[in-house]
């Protein structure tokens, strides 16, 4: 009988050996079976498995990947909210703490989406275990989607975590909840893709850290998380409008207050355009095997 039958549940005697019994010599057991045909493979299982692996990876170290960023978000709120609550009013009728919360949620979401795909990929590259994902018949698109989807999940989980803890400091409002969801998903996707690109390009942790600290951090920090760009001098307003992250924060905040610096439609268009460009770059890198299958 062919060894393929094990797939239909035909366990050979001893397959479920009691682990406490003495181990037999390697190779002394019955043959695993001659191959006559390949086992039937489920389509898209590669994507689903890679996604599950990526989610489990960050979940196993959730203290570091979820709890820590939530705590950081709360600390920002405590410090800035306490100092500025009575001095700054950005939108009419909206307290500073209430204004700050969506910004902090989005900032945490973006940074963690980026961190997930970039750090997972570079760790796998440096330790060499990326080979386990490169050997199977997983397409570039599946690879791309799995890493980005896992980044979105981590970003959204952290975002919800930050919101769940900070919402007690100021009563939340959800004036246009659909915009909240749309910008959360689009933003996490964009940063997940950017993280993938950074992970592909970087050869060392150092290079990735530079990307994270000198590009992603400043861009998220200076995107209007802590202030409305309307309060800035005209020159810095213009600069802020060149920062794609500004549109993410602004559009996300619109979902809470129905007030924003720029029309949410314009923000969405810019964010989606950035997502399309970044995705095209990442997919073309994967298609060329750039640094991964060189």
């Amino acid at each position: 009988m062919s060894g393929l039958d094990v797939a239909t549940g035909d366990r050979r005697p001893g397959a479920g050996r009691d682990p406490s019994s003495p181990a037999p010599e390697i190779g002394s057991r019955p043959a695993p079976g001659r191959l006559t045909s390949l086992p039937r493979a489920a389509k898209s299982a590669g994507f689903r498995t890679l996604l599950a692996k990526e989610v489990l990876r960050f979940w196993k170290v959730s203290f570091q990947t979820v709890a820590a960023p939530v705590l950081t978000g709360v600390l920002y709120l405590l410090v800035f909210g306490h100092v500025l609550e009575d001095r700054v009013q950005v939108f009419p009728g909206v307290g500073y703490t209430a204004f700050l919360i969506p910004g902090l949620v989005m900032m945490s979401l973006l940074q963690n989406a980026f961190a997930n795909s970039s750090s997972s990929l570079i760790q796998s590259k440096i330790t060499g275990n990326l080979v386990f994902v490169l050997l199977p018949p997983i397409s570039n698109r599946e690879f791309f989607l799995a890493y980005v989807a896992a980044a979105v999940i981590r970003g959204v989980v952290v975002g919800i975590g930050v919101f769940a803890v900070t919402m007690w400091f100021a009563p939340p409002s959800f004036k246009a909840p659909l915009w909240i969801a749309v910008f959360a998903l689009a933003g996490a996707s964009l940063l997940g893709v950017l993280g993938l690109i950074a992970g592909i390009v970087s050869d060392k942790f150092d290079q990735l850290a530079a990307f994270q600290n000198f590009v992603i951090m400043p861009a998220t920090f200076l995107s209007g998380v802590f202030y409305s760009v309307h309060g800035l001098p005209p020159f810095w307003q213009a600069v802020s409008h060149l920062n794609p992250f500004f549109y993410l924060i602004d559009g996300f905040r619109y979902g809470f207050f129905a007030v924003s610096d720029t029309s949410p439609w314009l923000s969405l268009a810019i964010v989606l355009a950035a997502l399309a460009v970044a995705s095209a770059v990442a997919l073309s890198m994967l298609a060329r095997g750039y640094k991964i299958r060189s």
Partner: protein, 306 residues
Amino acid sequence: MREAAAIEVSELVKRYPRVTALDGVSLRVEQGEFFGLLGPNGAGKTTLISIVAGLTRASSGRATVLGHDVVADYRAARSRIGVVPQELVFDPFFTVRETMRFQSGYFGLRHNDDWIDEVMANLDLAGKADANMRTLSGGMKRRVLVAQALVHRPPVIVLDEPTAGVDVELRQGLWAFIRRLNREGHTIVLTTHYLEEAQQLCPRIGMLKGGRLIALDRTQTLLQRLADVQVRLRLRGELPPALRAQAIEQGDGRVTLRVASPAQVEGVLAACREAGAAIEEVEVGHADLEDVFMQLMAADRRRVAA
């Protein structure tokens, strides 16, 4: 029509900015073979395997697995080949069973636990199923690598230096297992620099050097290409000048001579006696793969220098 080769590469070239790792290699491994790919470090063995496995893109040339092009038809090619990488790599986040399940899922096999149990039991990993990969010894990690390569039941199995740094016991066990897979119809391709191992296991061998295939033949034929008989002597005194041309290795009072047939051994001994060199030790044997290897490498050096 001829049966598709387990692995076929033609005119494979891989150029890196500073080095040409493969310089036009063509080679065919038939289904069911146990094939050895030998060569010194940097000869291009791992590059060749990486191209066949889809881990590296060739600069030019073509590679197929059971008739499926590794680039154009990568899904079919990759689902038919299992590769045990040379480096001892693992994912520190997961247990052995999780590692096996993920690997299974990557190949599209979602309900594969019976087979996973089977493979793990065969490699004596069942007791470690729930241990984190980090906690395993080097030998155990190597077994997991082998198990991962078999998780999708590939008809073609490639092992890249699988016994480097592995203790004798595991090596023996591993070979017993791989031999059995071969008997059951799996094609095995092995790279190793333990030449003794290749000689014992592989009926056919290819030798790479500097990115070129310098030998490709049955192991027996390669061995016969060298002298049938080698005489190793320990002498007190000088080797007679008449025998110097036959010496293939010399030093420290020991000398190895090549003779065409066992009948000529007597002549060698007589020549030593007549020249007044006292024979302290005599050993008569056949060339092994290492001799063939050394000779081919040396011949290639001379060819390149010429």
